[in-house]
């Protein structure tokens, strides 16, 4: 099977067309050809004898890396809702000291606020204690006792900042580097740039878990959309409870060989249509039929957590197999990583504590702490942490000013951690001011664009070179920004 991106196919087809056909279809064909060439920049400039993949395998648009690569896959532990950096990774004794006093106006004058607009701003210290951990002595909250154990494997970033103060646009900004709809998410960009290392599973998989209340902010499917990239690069959400993919088994009376014949015939018919239109979306359709056929065997194998020994399940804190918990999802994430999936995103909702911060954050920490740390340890003992980049963090942080019994959304400083994929463990990167209000401009400040640029650099990709032309403009994940934090790499 071949792809429309294959230069050979395009060239032979161009030759096959008669002049009449060509004139008749010129508008359509030129458009499609142009689109095809945009999908694959190599197509019209076949100067680089790059290594092609067999069959329909997408090997990525980049002929060779821009830098020596370190990482091969990402596991993004997405703490949706905006985890409070002041309760987890950013220790601020000065804030504790002025607890209850008016928050200094010099910090907040003229600044964007979400729900705290036109209210009296009072400083709110953290109710929780912090400890220096590991040999590196990184300060981590005692709310995260398991994460404290992996302090020397993770690099805590305390100077993150974003531009969007509400959940949905902030999620979009964290995922796609823009709040505008229709932009590809970072998983899609990575898949477009490098392809996946599996033929049997989607290259970009999303799993979701949540707290007990069920009242959390929803996360829309546009967060893992491929945007203007061909839709074969979009994230595929698996069910975290029960069967990961519904209706993946054959109905009674249909065997695999019959199924194979059906898929082949549909592919043949779709092929006619594709030859007429040269539309990459038809090719996406063919590829998806093929992938779905392979997933009929790969997904049951993936979901069979009973093959995991008791000790491993205990390590992650999985109570019941496939119970939809974050712990269960972390275990599945490791199994996806082992099978060559490029980008795995695990959303956990329940970090949006406008009120009841002290009780609710304790609960959500308990739900994610053990499994997050177990994932890093498990990857490490398998020798996978060297080439797996783990990112733990949310879309923004929370205000150092109190909001009743909680905190409001905050974009000027928040924390996250990175592990593996060539990142130096035990490192503290960047910092916020003494009240945790704003990142410090010390060369280690990390805008979301900078985080994206750094993550792509771990894969050997120069973020300025991963480009897709759409509606007459070149687009990048980092737009016209992004600075690689070189010092973060070992």
């Amino acid at each position: 099977m071949n792809t429309p991106f294959d230069p050979e196919i395009i060239r032979t087809r161009q030759l096959e067309w008669s002049r009449r056909t060509f004139l008749g279809k010129s508008a359509q064909a030129l458009g499609a050809l142009a689109l095809g060439s945009l999908v694959n920049p190599r197509l019209l400039s076949a100067q680089d004898p790059t290594v092609p993949g067999p069959g329909g395998r997408w090997m990525g648009c980049l002929p060779s890396p821009n830098f020596p690569p370190r990482a091969k896959r990402v596991i993004h532990l997405y703490m949706a809702g905006g985890p409070s950096h002041l309760e987890t990774f950013d220790y601020k004794p000065e804030l504790n000291r002025i607890h209850g006093q008016p928050f200094p106006a010099s910090f907040t004058n003229g600044q964007q606020l979400a729900q705290l607009q036109n209210t009296k701003l009072l400083a709110r210290g953290s109710s929780f204690t912090f400890s220096p951990c590991g040999i590196s002595g990184q300060m981590i909250s005692d709310l995260l006792p398991y994460t404290q154990q992996i302090a020397d494997d993770i690099c805590v970033i305390r100077s993150l900042h974003t531009e969007q103060i509400n959940h949905d646009p902030a999620h979009a900004f964290m995922n796609a580097g823009s709040m505008v709809k229709g932009r590809p998410s970072m998983g899609s960009w990575l898949l477009y740039g490098l392809g996946a290392e599996t033929d049997n599973l989607p290259g970009f998989v999303v799993l979701m878990s949540r707290g007990p209340s069920g009242g959390e902010q929803p996360v829309s499917a546009r967060q893992w959309s491929a945007g203007f990239l061909p839709s074969r690069f979009q994230g595929v959400q698996f069910q975290s409870k029960g069967v990961p993919v519904h209706y993946v088994g054959n109905p009674d009376g249909v065997c695999q060989s019959t199924q194979r014949q059906v898929i082949d015939e549909i592919a043949r018919l779709n092929g006619f249509h594709e030859e007429e239109t040269l539309d990459p979306e038809v090719q996406t359709r063919i590829a998806q039929y093929e992938l779905a056929f392979k997933m009929q065997t790969s997904v049951p194998d993936l979901a069979d957590l009973s093959s995991e020994p008791e000790s491993i399940r205990e390590m992650y804190g999985v109570k019941e197999i496939g119970d939809g918990s974050f712990a269960s999802n972390c275990l599945v994430a490791r199994r996806l990583a082992e099978r060559g999936v490029r980008f795995i995103q695990l959303y956990h909702r329940g970090w949006d504590q406008h009120g009841n911060l002290d009780t609710d954050i304790k609960d959500v920490c308990r739900r994610v702490d053990q499994a997050s740390a177990a994932l890093v340890k498990d990857l490490k003992q398998r020798g996978m942490l060297d080439d797996t980049l783990v990112l733990w963090g949310g879309e923004f942080g929370r205000t150092p000013m109190g909001q009743g019994t909680g905190r409001d959304h905050h974009i000027n400083a928040f924390s996250a951690w990175l592990a593996g994929g060539g990142i130096r463990g035990g490192l503290s990167w960047g910092s916020s001011d003494e009240l945790g209000y704003r990142y410090i401009d010390d060369g280690q400040q990390m805008h979301v664009h900078d985080l994206h640029a750094t993550m792509l650099a771990a894969f050997g990709i120069n973020h300025e070179k991963l480009i897709y032309r759409f509606q007459g403009r070149d687009f990048r994940l980092t737009d016209v920004h992004g600075r690689i934090a070189q010092g973060i790499f070992a």
Partner: protein, 497 residues
């Protein structure tokens, strides 16, 4: 300071201008020679438009040239009393220089008699060239001019190959002798230029073992009871900014390999005639020695186009994933894990056409076994190797000993045991090893770690670190206008931009 002392130091200061000043008389006299030749050519009718030197001009140029030559000789005399130069060579340069200056004065005296002027001036120029060459040899060492001469030209001039060729001849490791084959070549490249027969700064010569034992102004260089205080290694280890650092900043510094070898040699008690093979060399030292002894045996970089063509074909045939690992090199990441058990020893053998280009190889979960590992022998470039969950044993690990660039090795879930860990001692760059779910004991891993860790090198780097910390603190300004003990005041909040 006494008057004599001040005179001495002024003399030493002025003497250092000699290498600069000498170019002035040379330039003036050579310019006159050019003018004379041109003027002589003007006698030929067709070239009579050429300029001629007037008698007054000639006198003026000769006068300045002779004065400059005398001044140069005086400055040279001052420098000879101060610099650490080989006495015999200084003497020959000195007399040639004085002779040239005297000849210049003589020419000035007789230049109005044409028949005497021409031969005397020519003789002066010859003396000048000889003196200049002797001076150059004093500064740069003998053989400076011919060291980079093409061999063909050397043969033409009858210098013979030995005098010209400086390419080291590869020496067999098993027959190499410590000082002559390993240490001396390093000293010759990096030290002997300033500490040798021609020029011996600090009174130290480093061209022979006996000279090192004899030492210089500050005492012997080798043979001290405590190797940690050895001036040789200590001086090299100092940060480059420090004046005592050797080689001086601006000169070619020692490579890591050279430093490793030199340091090991000093700590081993500076042996001279013992064969290398009789030592139990640490892995890093053995590696450094090998790479030095190998001489010109540089790494062969496979052709990128050819490798990629083969890689594309193999990826199609075997269903494996192959990706380039660098923007311009031929290096490859080969992932056979995607094919699982369908990839075995037979398929692995087919990779031979791209073997020298493979840098990362993932055979995890494939059906590759011990017998197949022989195919890895030509993969000299291999840095990351996954063999997890393959059917391999200690015997297979023994076949990997030639892979000296391995940094990452994953043996999880294989049948290897403690015995196999010994074979891994031949991988000097190994930094990450994964042996979970095998019979390997923590004690064996620890022992391997000890063998692969160069404690001395770490200690050296730590010493360097503390020296740098000292330098940093020396650079920092601390002002203190007096403090009194007060209860801590509320800190003024940082202004927000």
């Amino acid at each position: 300071m006494t008057a004599a002392g001040s005179l001495n130091s002024t003399g030493a200061f002025l003497g250092r201008f000699h290498p600069l000043w000498v170019h002035l008389p040379i330039g003036i006299l050579v310019l006159l020679a050019i003018l004379e030749v041109v003027g002589w050519a003007a006698h030929w009718p067709r070239l009579k438009w050429l300029p001629k030197v007037g008698p007054g001009q000639r006198t003026l140029i000769l006068l300045t040239g002779a004065c400059a030559a005398v001044a140069a000789a005086l400055l040279g005399w001052l420098l000879a009393h101060d610099g650490d130069y080989d006495a015999a060579r200084v003497r020959s340069h000195q007399w040639l220089g004085i002779a040239a200056a005297a000849a210049a004065i003589l020419v000035l005296a007789v230049h109005r008699r044409r028949w005497l002027y021409a031969p005397l001036f020519a003789a002066t120029l010859v003396l000048l060239v000889l003196a200049a060459h002797a001076g150059g040899t004093l500064t740069h060492g003998s053989g400076f001019l011919t060291a980079r001469m093409p061999p063909a030209m050397g043969r033409l001039l009858g210098l013979g190959n030995a005098a010209v060729s400086t390419v080291p001849v590869p020496v067999d490791f098993s027959r190499a002798v410590v000082f002559a084959d390993v240490v001396q070549p390093i000293l010759k490249d990096r030290c002997v230029g300033c500490h040798g027969p021609d020029k011996s700064n600090g009174g130290l010569r480093m061209d022979a073992w006996e000279q090192l034992a004899k030492g210089g102004k500050h005492g012997p260089v080798i043979g001290a009871a405590d190797p940690a205080s050895n001036p040789l290694v200590k001086r090299i280890d100092l940060p480059a900014e420090v004046k005592e650092h050797m080689p001086p900043s601006g000169k070619q510094q020692l490579t890591d390999d050279e430093l490793t070898v030199l340091e090991w040699w000093v700590y081993a008690g500076a042996p001279r005639d013992r064969p290398l093979a009789s030592f139990d060399l640490p892995a890093s030292v053995a590696e450094a020695v090998r790479s030095r002894l190998g001489g010109a045996a540089a790494e062969v970089v496979p052709n990128r186009t050819a490798v990629f063509a083969n890689a594309g074909r193999l990826a199609h045939e075997l269903g494996i994933l192959i990706r380039p690992l660098s923007p311009d090199g031929p290096w490859l990441d080969v992932n056979a894990r995607v094919m699982g058990k369908a990839f075995g020893n037979r398929e692995l053998a087919l990779l031979s056409s791209i073997a020298p280009a493979i840098q990362w190889l993932d055979l995890g979960g494939t059906s590759v076994s011990d017998a197949g590992l022989a195919c890895l022998a030509p993969m000299h470039r291999l840095e990351r190797l996954h063999l997890d969950q393959c059917r391999i044993t200690d015997f297979g690990l023994g076949l990997l000993t030639g892979l000296r660039r391995i940094e990452y090795l994953n043996l999880r879930g294989t049948s290897v045991s403690d015995g196999g860990m010994v074979a891994l001692r031949n991988m000097p760059r190994l930094r990450s090893l994964y042996v979970w779910q095998t019979a390997v004991t923590p004690a064996a891993v620890k022992a391997l770690g000890e063998a692969l860790t160069d404690r001395r090198r770490i200690a050296r780097l730590e010493a360097e670190q503390s020296e740098l910390a000292r330098l940093i603190s020396a650079e920092q300004f601390q002002g203190n206008a007096g403090e009194s003990l007060r209860p801590p005041a509320a800190k003024a909040p940082q202004s927000s931009p």
